[in-house]
């Protein structure tokens, strides 16, 4: 067990290295940089002056150095927990992270909670009534969640709330600790949308796992000894089919942090997604690097925890 965890942790290193190199190279391939954006935005007169300003800013930020040197400098800082300064906001990226990560985390957790409460029972109903009317209904309902791009669902919800209830969710973010009610008034909508979207694969998996377990001998035994259907379904079938579902939900959970971009944009949540989209368009390299790094780290860590939970819950699984 210890060696397994250690081995997995060691594998974090090449993956995180890969992620950071990929995004580093990709961002430098995007035409234009922060210097050009800042200078052309300020609209100074002659182009010779602009060129000089651009060179100056690049020198200040170290953008005139070879890319490899820039990367090593970034890596050196990151290893010491120093993600550098945001080009645009002119403050440490770690401050931005401290502000933004909890917001996206909250939204992700809320989304997952709603998705689980909604998708797992839907899958169970589907399996218990396989090929019946309820099964078809449940599958159609859960699949319909995948059918509209998230930004359209979000826009329709906003439009509907305004039209029908003459009410708009708050557009000013308030943290949960400050005012829980106001906070939920804003975050519940993107969480509902995103949960509706990710519920289809979760209930599909619940259904197919349930269908497999329900055919096992011990389920037949439970029925044969006269247990009520409810007990058979919940105590024997559901519990045993939940394992892969838990893994899958964990996988989604790890992904969610980076997957909330669209919802954050539509519902004006100042989280990691909105910050990232802005940072990409402003070529704010340090912010992009750090955000992606955190997202990848969370993704890997959640996956590891899920795998460990799996082994702990299922005594048949042993790690070599």
């Amino acid at each position: 067990m210890r060696t397994y965890v250690l081995r997995r942790l060691v594998l974090f290193v090449p993956t995180l290295l890969g992620v950071s190199i990929l995004i580093f190279v990709l961002m430098r391939l995007v035409p234009g940089d922060i210097a050009e954006i800042l200078v052309y935005q300020s609209g100074s007169e002659s182009s010779a002056i602009q060129q000089k300003q651009i060179r100056q800013i690049r020198q200040e930020l170290g953008l005139d150095r070879p890319v490899v040197v820039q990367y090593l400098a970034w890596m050196g800082g990151a290893l010491r927990g120093d993600f550098g300064q945001s080009y645009m906001q002119r403050r440490p990226v770690s401050d931005i992270l401290r502000e933004r990560v909890p917001r996206s985390m909250e939204l992700a957790l809320l989304t997952l909670a709603i998705a689980v409460v909604w998708a797992v029972p839907l899958g169970v109903v589907s399996a218990v009534r396989q090929n019946g009317a309820l099964d078809y209904l449940a599958r159609v309902v859960s699949l319909s969640g995948l059918s509209l791009p998230l930004f359209v669902t979000g826009a329709l919800i906003l439009y509907g709330l305004g039209r029908i209830f003459r009410w708009m969710p708050p557009l000013e973010f308030v943290s949960f600790t400050e005012n829980p009610l106001e906070n939920l008034k804003q975050l519940i909508w993107p969480a509902l949308c995103q949960a509706y979207y990710i519920s289809a694969p979760i209930s599909r998996l619940t259904r197919s796992e349930m269908l497999e377990v329900i055919r096992q001998d011990y389920v037949r035994t439970a029925r044969a000894k006269g247990l009520r259907e409810r007990a058979v379904v919940y105590r024997h079938a559901l519990r045993n089919s939940l394992l892969p579902v838990v893994t899958f939900i964990g996988w989604w959970g790890g992904r969610l942090l980076g997957g909330l971009v669209i919802m954050e944009l539509i519902f004006v949540v100042p989280g990691m997604g909105t910050a990232l989209v802005q940072a990409v368009s402003q070529r704010d390299y340090p912010t992009v690097q750090a955000m992606i790094f955190v997202m990848a780290l969370v993704f890997l860590a959640v996956n590891l925890v899920v795998d460990l939970a799996y082994a702990w819950l299922d005594p048949r699984i042993r790690y070599a």
Binding site: L26, F151, A155, R255, V261, S281
Partner: protein, 279 residues
Amino acid sequence: MLAAAGRFALRQPLGAAGALVVLALVAVAVLAPRLAPHGPKETAFAPYLAPSAEFLMGTDQVGRDVLSRVIWGARLSLYVGLASVVVGITLGALWGVATAYFGGISDLGSQRVVDSLMALPPIILALALMAALGQSVTNVILALIILLTPTAARTVRAVALGIAAAPYIEAARAAGGSQWRIIFRHLIPNCLASYIVLLTTNVSYAIVVEASLSFIGAGAPPDEPSWGGMLTAGVQAIETAPWMVFFPGLAISLAVFGLNLLGDSIRDVTDPRLRGGLG
């Protein structure tokens, strides 16, 4: 052929319904030039006209016929979805089979590349790719290929690892089958089921991601008749011209829903664990 289709329809009524929708989508895409009353980029009309007998779905912000654009959009969406999925999943599947069979350092290394690509948030990866490549339909397909390949490589590798360990592969090797013979005659055909499931389930994903890319300003150029682009413009004008959201929204959700129904049924049919009724 017909009998097989009939049996599929009886056992998978939802899948058959999905297949019908997909057929209709393909028909609209193929016949777009004949079906559309106007050109998809023609701006000869007044903007924001509500649906009427002349413009069944109204006109958009620059005075283009929404119906014509929805019809041409079927062609674009299908093209983007199919091209990216066929290329992306095929590349990924071959990659997965190859690394599973050869194992060793190459497998370990390529798995780390797959890990890295999968740890990147897909929308952000696509956004950065599009910013680097420039906005065009071909580049949207390229970005989607890069998103799809690692997932396929991971899935198919796992399947191929199971097959490579099977006794019949050992038998083939003992009988003197060459490496390539084993890969092409035994390994690849046995991975086909999961390959087909990956293909059918990802076309709809690609269509939705294409639309989302339009929304963050990294999709097809705005004059292209892409459902995503139309929806993005529609969302911005939702108060004044709700038909600009309604019709392309209906089109994309029908298409994606049909593709998903079909994909789910194919997945069920190819999954031997789910055959037969309740015990």
